[in-house]
């Protein structure tokens, strides 16, 4: 545990405004926040809660289109609100550092890691370039990066996602700041990689007794790191307390909702080999078209009518590629896809309209899955006219029925996707898939871009639709909580192969396959001691055997 000392940062009555629709609108409504030396404060809430905005404001900074309207931000005796730029510049990067969500997007791809590491300390005149390089090796090894002597000389694309995120933490540490603001540093990572980064962050903030503001939407993660937690919603404080207290005795309804464990369905009886909707046999595929670099190997899979198969694995395990092969976007090298007793032609072009209609897809990012220039009417109406020749009044009636099924008001028919929230967009995607009357829907990470509570609503909706319509789902995800919540059967993939498959209960009860065990144990739990316990159990350092952790 960190040693918590004197008051370091004090924010009072912070009001931040954003510029939308030609006027300034308040987005953070008078937040008070204090941070002591060596303390880790967790900010948690859904998107739009103002977490990141507050985190940046702690540095006296706002994103473009935002401004700090009033309040006071006192850092170690310096008032940052309204301070001239040169004063703030001295503090930023030097005494307060920032770690962004996507390390891949935050590094300059044209420079080696160490050069970017050295930039801040050299700029602030703390040390020379060669001193910075020596220091970097020390920090890299403290962050448990492989080969700390040399890793700095790599370019950002030459290290894995988890390593890059740690390299970014190293950069933030370069000037030995008093405070680091972590803005969702593990959100874009796989569960197994997430552990590495969390462990590294925990270790280094403890070693240097650095205070931190840790921003996330995942309560289980913040539970591992934070001494104190603030729950935010719509720019207001919902609840604030020390971490253990808030987890054990949440006072507010909203916090309790965030804490609630998801259980969405009753187990359905295993209906054996009858009623198979889709069967994939001995399938292999590659992007290069040759057998040397197989992305998928030896895939055998059955999806039963009215059931959900969850396909689990890290990024790079071939989950999405399998979906591409099933839909015909990527013809396989070998193997067959049998749908409803008929063998489907490998390539999309040669498949019949009826086959296409039976199999629909829902995507991860609802923002890019809907054409921003088409109204809901056209988005849902097109499959109706395309597959069934439905037009005019009949089409309109069916669209309204579908909107009703996905629990959106009829008025939404005239809206553009830009006028919908993330969850509503995903509902429209579901309606578009349903419009085709499919018997199988492939769901590719459909909830991972959504906030926890919204995601839950979407899962509930999918569940209800399955019960009513008897549609099967192939549910691709890396989130094991989702898997537990909705699946009948589970297929675990690693490096293009299926390592384990079976009904949910069997997979989730020990003994597990080694890799399934790693995946399952890596899912953060709401217990503040979970990470320490896990690291102790795993002994050394949790290095997954997955492809995402290349150490070459």
């Amino acid at each position: 545990m960190n040693h918590i000392g004197s008051k370091l940062l004090e924010i009072k009555g912070l009001v931040i405004e954003g510029f939308t629709d030609e006027k300034w609108v308040e987005i953070v409504h008078g937040i008070d926040l204090t941070l002591n030396r060596g303390e880790v404060l967790g900010l948690i809430g859904e998107s739009g809660a103002g977490k990141s905005t507050i985190g940046l404001a702690a540095m006296g900074y706002t994103r473009q289109g935002c401004r700090i309207a009033s309040g006071s931000i006192v850092f170690d005796g310096h008032q940052l609100f309204g301070a001239p730029d040169h004063v703030k510049r001295k503090i930023r990067g030097n005494r307060i550092a920032y770690v962004a969500q996507s390390a891949a997007a935050s590094f300059n791809p044209a420079h080696r890691l160490i050069k970017q590491y050295a930039e801040a300390p050299v700029q602030h005149g703390l040390m020379s370039y060669s001193e910075a390089k020596e220091k970097a090796v020390d920090i890299y090894s403290r962050l448990l990066l492989p080969d700390p002597e040399n890793i700095g000389y790599r370019y950002p694309h030459q290290v894995s996602g988890g390593q890059l995120q740690r390299a970014m933490v190293a950069m933030a540490m370069a000037c030995r700041p008093d405070i680091i603001v972590f803005d969702e540093p593990t959100t874009a990572l796989d569960v197994t990689t997430q552990i590495e980064v969390l462990a590294a962050i925990k270790q280094i903030t403890e070693q240097f007794n650095t205070a931190a503001i840790y921003i996330t939407h995942d309560l289980a993660i913040v539970a591992q790191l934070a001494d104190r937690i603030m729950v935010l919603r719509y720019g207001n404080l919902v609840e604030e307390n020390n971490a253990r207290e808030i987890l054990a005795h949440p006072k507010e309804e909203y916090t309790r909702k965030l804490l609630s464990v998801r259980t969405l369905r009753e187990d359905k009886a295993y209906n054996g080999d009858k009623d198979v909707a889709l069967e994939v046999s001995d399938l292999s595929a590659s992007y290069s078209g040759s057998g040397d670099e197989l992305v998928l190997e030896d895939i055998n899979l059955k999806i039963r009518r009215g059931r959900t198969v969850a396909l689990v694995g890290e990024s790079g395990s071939g989950k999405s590629t399998l979906a591409r092969v099933i839909t015909g976007l990527l013809p396989p090298l070998e193997g067959t896809v049998v749908f409803d007793g008929r063998q489907l032609p490998p390539a999309l072009k040669s498949r019949k309209k009826e086959d296409l209609q039976q199999m629909q897809m829902i995507y991860q990012m609802p923002d890019t899955a809907l054409n921003p220039r088409q109204k809901v009417r056209k988005i849902i109406g097109r499959p109706l006219s395309f597959y069934f020749g439905m037009k005019g009044k009949k089409q309109e009636k069916r669209i309204l029925e579908l909107l009703d099924m996905i629990e959106l008001p009829a008025g939404y028919i005239e809206r553009y996707p830009g006028e919908l929230s993330g969850g509503e967009k995903q509902r429209i995607c579901i309606a578009r898939a349903l419009a085709a009357n499919p018997s199988l829907i492939i769901c590719d990470e459909v909830t991972s871009a959504l906030d926890q509570l919204v995601a839950e609503e979407i899962l509930k909706l999918l569940q209800r639709l399955q019960n009513e319509l008897g549609v099967s789902y192939l549910f691709i995800t890396h989130d094991l909580n989702t898997v537990k919540a909705i699946s009948d059967e589970i297929v675990v993939m690693l490096q293009g192969r299926i390592v384990e498959q079976g009904v949910k209960k069997e997979i989730l009860t020990p003994p597990h396959h080694e890799y399934t065990d790693l995946l399952l144990s890596s899912v953060p739990e709401m217990d503040p001691d979970w990470l320490d316990q896990l690291l102790a159990d795993r002994g050394d350092f949790p290095v997954a055997s997955g492809p995402a952790v290349s150490t070459e």
């Binding site: 990012m365 220039r373 499959p383």
Partner: protein, 272 residues
């Protein structure tokens, strides 16, 4: 459409007014013009007077009349040419981006070869072979210009094509024409429209350049570009006659671009 017009900013209305004025002049030139298009009515380079509103040109023809008639040729030819180049360029570019593979490779290489040859020399060569009819002029310039449009629309379509909603449409079984027309085109509009405004003006200038070399619009037909060129000598005598057709070109260019700016603003949904 009318509602949209009502909300339009002052700059867009100004642009529309300018363009409408020009089109009006072009359509009704014979009715408005005080003299005939090629009629010699007085001395060379007469100053502005009640009889000759803008003076006379290097052959003693009424300049105001010539500018009205010039609007006909210039606007119509430039507009048709630009439109044609965009149709060809966009279809080619979108086909290359959606079909990829061999289609993309062959179309792109053909365009590369065409772009490697200086455009003026290319046009001169072709026009001296096929002759300098207005139709030939339009086709040749449109084809040459479409290479630029091809490059732009291919690049834009590549970006749009990678988005999930295009894949969703493919999975639905949509044909290539639907993909291009309904999924890609609406999302590629803003940069293409901006380019249209620019290209339109370039075509003007290109026709003027060709006319200067004797392969553009043939005298005595009036067009603004050649009018600038033919009267250019007057400048050395301190007579500002050539500035009138030049001003007309600038005026229309500004008008077109004001409309394009506004359209861009509306189409992209940008709210500064």
């Amino acid at each position: 459409m009318f509602k949209l017009l009502k909300q339009s900013p002052i700059s867009a209305r100004l642009g529309i007014a300018i363009v409408v004025m020009n089109i009006f002049a072009a359509l009704f030139a014979p009715l408005i013009a005080p003299y005939g298009e090629t009629e010699v009515v007085g001395d060379v380079w007469l100053p502005m007077s009640r009889d000759h509103l803008l003076g006379t040109d290097q052959l003693g023809r009424d300049l105001f009349t010539r500018i009205l008639y010039g609007a006909r040729n210039t606007i119509a030819i430039a507009f048709v040419t630009t439109l044609l180049s965009f149709v060809v360029g966009i279809i080619g570019g979108f086909l290359a981006a959606t079909l990829k593979g061999w289609t993309d490779l062959s179309l792109s290489r053909i365009v590369d070869v065409m772009m490697a040859i200086p455009i003026l020399i290319f046009a001169l060569t072709v026009l001296s072979v096929v002759g300098t009819s207005i139709l030939a002029l339009i086709l040749v310039i449109a084809l040459l210009d479409s290479t630029r449009v091809f490059r732009l629309s291919r690049a834009v379509a590549m970006d749009v094509e990678a988005l999930d909603f295009v894949e969703a449409a493919r999975l639905r079984g949509e044909k290539i024409w639907w993909l291009m027309r309904h999924e890609i085109l609406p999302n590629a509009m803003p940069p293409l429209v901006a380019e249209f405004g620019l290209r339109f003006c370039f075509v003007f200038l290109f026709i003027a350049a060709l006319s200067f070399l004797g392969l553009g619009i043939q005298p005595p037909t009036a067009d603004w570009g050649s009018m600038v060129r033919e009267n250019a000598g007057a400048i050395t005598f301190g007579i500002f006659i050539p500035l009138w057709p030049a001003g007309a070109i600038a005026f229309l260019t500004v008008g077109v671009n004001l409309i394009v700016d506004w359209f861009l603003h509306v189409a992209s949904g940008l709210k500064d």
